[in-house]
């Protein structure tokens, strides 16, 4: 590559908590191209992009711009070198006008005052130059999402960006807005700009990108001319396992249906479908896995099953052990024998300053074993929590230690211990091993299998393919709020095949999907 505009060589990033986000990543950007970085969640895309924009410093490796070695220590450094970024969460001040947002931090002045006319002129000039129409006097809070994005792009251009990084820009757009964005990006390219396009939507990547860098597990899997690779090939490179874990599983013995979802549909306030016509069953002793790229309705499904349907208009029926739960809150659902491991252990799953013991009893302090009238049974609680800590091998200095001082893996073990030790009849496990070390992950998987042997029904939502393929008895794939595939023997499904469904390239026919209701 003679004319590499920006080159990143052997970039490694290790976070203070020991997570290795990038491992010797290479990335090279040619002038005037639209270059996609594709990869699953956790593949290291965002870290790479933050390093490119000076928001994170690499632990190792070098960055070159036009052959010159540079150090990007802040976003300002990157801006000064002609790099601009459009964040997924817009960096705009809602009550300001478009023009004010455009010039913030580099305001034109007239005497003492802020020169609004000049700001408007600058906005209009930039808008005209790049053929991106905006109304400089409109308030940003009144704009549509697509318009806001346009303002963000203009902001970067006004600051002299020659390289534009767009972080999943289409995630928030309607199809029409996406088309318009693509038109604009092509135009920018013609004017000599270089664009880094981060996405996992393969159709879009194919539609506008010249080249694609594929990342997986913090490494680069390859760089291709988009025209030379098929969607299938991309998906095979994106979706894959590094290590295959194997578990000894008892042969399944399924009991009564514990969770039944029939024709569940939910729309957002704008009428966009979040979940459409979901139907499946989870039986006692069965683990049903839900795979999918994040943001395809899994979060909304979990919310719907854990009390989120209360006061929401929805279609369809959701029952736990035959009881309709659409009007129940989480406590009422828990009282039916449901446990729930939430995705975010810091925000929902634990109280950091509270002790391990306090965190262990939060879902059972109401039960009669734990209290006498209003008083908690202290000795009962200490013996229970001590035995849980031992059973789940939580490494700590004692049950009085604040949970916030534990490592991620040990903290997650506490959450799992709490949810798994109440002999639940249905367990909803959302990313149960995210961000924990391999040892803790295997331990948690064993515990899930033990519960399964004890005839607990488990709904497992995970972005971790190892987990979902090895643990589940049957597997659903979600794409854009729908179930697009159903597999009876996940361990036999190849990653390539799964990738096709996860990325929306293929879809099973309705009858195959319907098998999820009865598992026959």
């Amino acid at each position: 590559m003679q004319n590499a505009l920006l080159e990143m060589r052997a970039i490694t990033k290790v976070y203070p908590n020991g997570v290795v986000a990038n491992k010797a990543v290479h990335f090279s950007l040619c002038e005037g191209e639209i270059h996609a970085i594709a990869g699953e969640n956790g593949a290291g895309k965002s870290t790479l992009m933050k390093i490119m924009f000076g928001m994170e410093e690499p632990s190792d490796g070098e960055i070159y711009i036009r052959g010159e070695k540079v150090k990007l220590q802040s976003a300002q450094d990157a801006i000064d070198r002609g790099i601009g970024m459009v964040h997924q969460h817009f960096m705009l001040v809602p009550s300001f006008t478009v023009a004010e947002n455009m010039v913030l931090g580099m305001e034109p002045r007239r005497g003492l005052g802020f020169n609004e006319a000049e700001a408007i002129r600058m906005t209009e000039e930039t808008a005209r130059k790049y053929n991106l129409t905006v109304n400089p006097k409109a308030k940003v809070e009144d704009l549509t999402v697509g318009m806001k994005q346009k303002v963000e792009i203009l902001k970067a251009l006004l600051r002299g960006a020659k390289i534009l990084i767009l972080d999943e820009p289409t995630a928030v757009l309607t199809p029409q807005e996406t088309e318009e964005l693509f038109r604009e990006l092509k135009q920018l390219k013609e004017q000599g700009h270089t664009i880094v396009f981060i996405s996992h939507k393969l159709k879009e990547v194919k539609a506008i990108c010249d080249r694609i860098t594929i990342m997986r597990g913090g490494r680069t899997e390859g760089v291709f001319q988009t025209a030379d690779v098929t969607e299938q090939e991309i998906s095979r490179l994106m979706v894959g396992r590094d290590v295959v874990l194997k578990y000894d599983k008892d042969s399944p013995s399924f009991g009564e249906p514990m969770l039944t979802v029939q024709g569940l549909s939910v729309n957002d306030p704008q009428g966009k479908a979040l979940l459409s016509d979901l139907s499946f069953t989870v039986r006692a002793g069965q683990i049903v896995g839900i795979a999918g790229v994040e943001g395809n309705g899994q979060t909304q499904l979990i919310e719907a099953l854990t009390g989120g349907l209360k006061g929401v208009s929805s279609n369809g029926v959701v029952t736990v052990k035959g009881a309709d739960i659409r009007d129940s809150d989480l406590l009422e659902i828990r009282n039916l024998g449901v446990s729930y491991i939430p995705e975010d252990r810091m925000r929902q799953g634990s109280a950091g300053d509270a002790s391990i013991a306090d965190n262990l009893i939060s879902t059972r302090y109401r039960s009669k074993d734990m209290n006498k009238g209003i008083f908690l049974k202290g000795s009962k609680i200490s013996s229970l929590t001590a035995s849980l800590v031992e059973e789940f091998k939580v490494r700590c200095s004692g049950t009085a230690q604040p949970i916030g001082m534990l490592s991620g893996g040990n903290m997650q073990k506490v959450v799992v211990a709490r949810e798994c030790s109440t002999s639940p009849e249905l367990l909803i496990a959302e990313q149960p091993t995210r961000g924990v070390d391999i040892g803790a992950a295997q331990f948690i998987h064993q515990k899930l299998l033990e519960l399964r042997a004890a005839q607990c029904a488990i709904l497992l939502v995970s972005a971790d393919l190892n987990e979902i393929l090895e643990i589940s008895d049957s597997l659903l794939v979600m794409y854009e709020g729908q179930i697009v595939a159903y597999f009876e023997n996940p361990a036999a499904v190849s990653e390539e095949e799964l990738g096709l469904y996860m990325l929306g390239i293929q879809r099973q026919d309705e009858q195959d999907i319907r098998r999820a209701v009865n598992h026959v």
């Binding site: 989480l330 406590l331 828990r334 729930y340 939430p342 925000r347 929902q348 799953g349 634990s350 109280a351 950091g352 300053d353 509270a354 306090d358 009893i361 939060s362 879902t363 302090y365 109401r366 209290n371 209003i374 008083f375 908690l376 202290g378």
Partner: protein, 348 residues
């Protein structure tokens, strides 16, 4: 070496040492005989039975408000309303002490109960506004302080004022309404027993009951509490009721234990001092005893110093300000904690 888990203790001690050092510095700058004056400040409060009595008398209201604020802070409620409630409940108890006719032990009981209940109900208002509509409890409670002061002052000036008295004070309380003194030679009254019992009850409540557990979890992480099935709105209202009850009881006890007439024509400041006591106690009920006694000790020390030397007692508010600024400063000595953490991580 020191362990990270002792960090908070070390930090609190460091704050107290710095505050005392500043006190000594001020005294040295101001006083003609700094050594003697520092001696008075430090030793005089403990020199006689009467002075020790003064410290304990002063600590009683501080324990009430410190306890009240501790519970609110524990629930992560930033409410500084104890100030106004302490005052207003004092007025309510005074009304009952003046106008009711009851026998010797019923009278203070009824007056204190009246003040406490009114305190609880008034405190519930910001609580309900917070729980139902997420109205900022800090601003409402601060506004309530001024409102309650205005209304209380109106009651004093228009309905309770004894025209025959020389100052702006209420009619005399009935003899039956007074709290009895329990230590001869001091003015320590039965309020001390009440507050100590209350502290023990609060400790048991917080650490040994379901409700206390719900309160602590709501304060530690409201999202987690909700996820665990705790009705956090109810918890927030409950903690406001309890805290108001305690602050109200404090105002009532103080009035009946220490005075013959109601005579506060400005807010007495115990509510905000309560925030300081709670911070020093790390929102721990039993530790409120020690932290209230410490604050009372340096205040009496300053009072005695003012009486026996040339340094005015108002020095103490400078010291208090320093304590608050440093004790709530997250970053203060943080670098040291990080160093300890790093060291422990390496050793492990």
């Amino acid at each position: 070496m020191f362990k990270v888990k002792y960090f908070e203790v070390i930090r609190t001690s460091a704050v107290i040492v710095i505050a005392l050092a500043i006190a000594f510095l001020i005294i040295s700058l101001v006083s003609d005989q700094p050594v003697t004056t520092i001696g008075i400040f430090l030793l005089e409060p403990l020199s006689t039975k009467g002075h020790i009595g003064n410290v304990i008398e002063m600590a009683i209201p501080l324990m009430f408000t410190g306890l009240s604020v501790s519970l609110l802070f524990r629930a992560n409620m930033f409410n500084l309303g104890a100030e106004g409630i302490f005052y207003f409940s004092g007025v309510v108890a005074s009304v009952l002490a003046i106008h009711l006719t009851l026998n010797g032990w019923m009278h203070p009981l009824v007056a204190i109960a009246g003040g406490s209940i009114v305190g609880a109900l008034l405190s519930a208002i910001p609580g309900i506004l917070k729980a139902k509509w997420n109205a900022n409890e800090l601003v409402t409670s601060l506004m309530f302080n001024n409102i309650l002061f205005g209304v209380g002052l109106y009651l004093l000036n228009y309905h309770l004022r004894d025209a025959k008295a020389f100052a702006n004070v209420s009619f005399k309380f009935q003899e039956t309404a007074h709290l009895s003194k329990i230590v001869p030679g001091t003015r320590i009254h039965t309020g001390l027993i009440i507050v100590l019992v209350l502290i023990v009850v609060a400790h048991l409540f917080l650490y040994k009951t379901k409700w206390g557990y719900e309160l602590r979890m709501t304060g530690a992480n409201r999202e987690f509490a909700r996820y665990s099935g705790i009705k956090t709105a109810k918890v927030i209202i409950l903690v406001h009721l309890i805290a108001g009850f305690m602050a109200g009881m404090g105002g009532s006890v103080e009035v009946l234990g220490m005075y013959n007439r109601f005579q506060w024509s400005s807010l007495p400041g115990y509510g905000l001092d309560g925030a300081l006591v709670a911070m020093l106690a790390k929102n721990n009920p039993l530790a409120v005893i020690a932290s209230a006694l410490f604050l009372a000790y340096i205040r009496i020390g300053a009072d005695l110093m003012a009486r026996l030397s040339d340094v005015p007692s108002e020095m103490i508010s400078i010291i208090q300000a320093v304590i608050i600024l440093l004790i709530s400063a997250e970053q203060f000595l943080k670098f040291w904690k990080n160093r300890m953490l790093l060291k422990e991580a390496k050793e492990a």
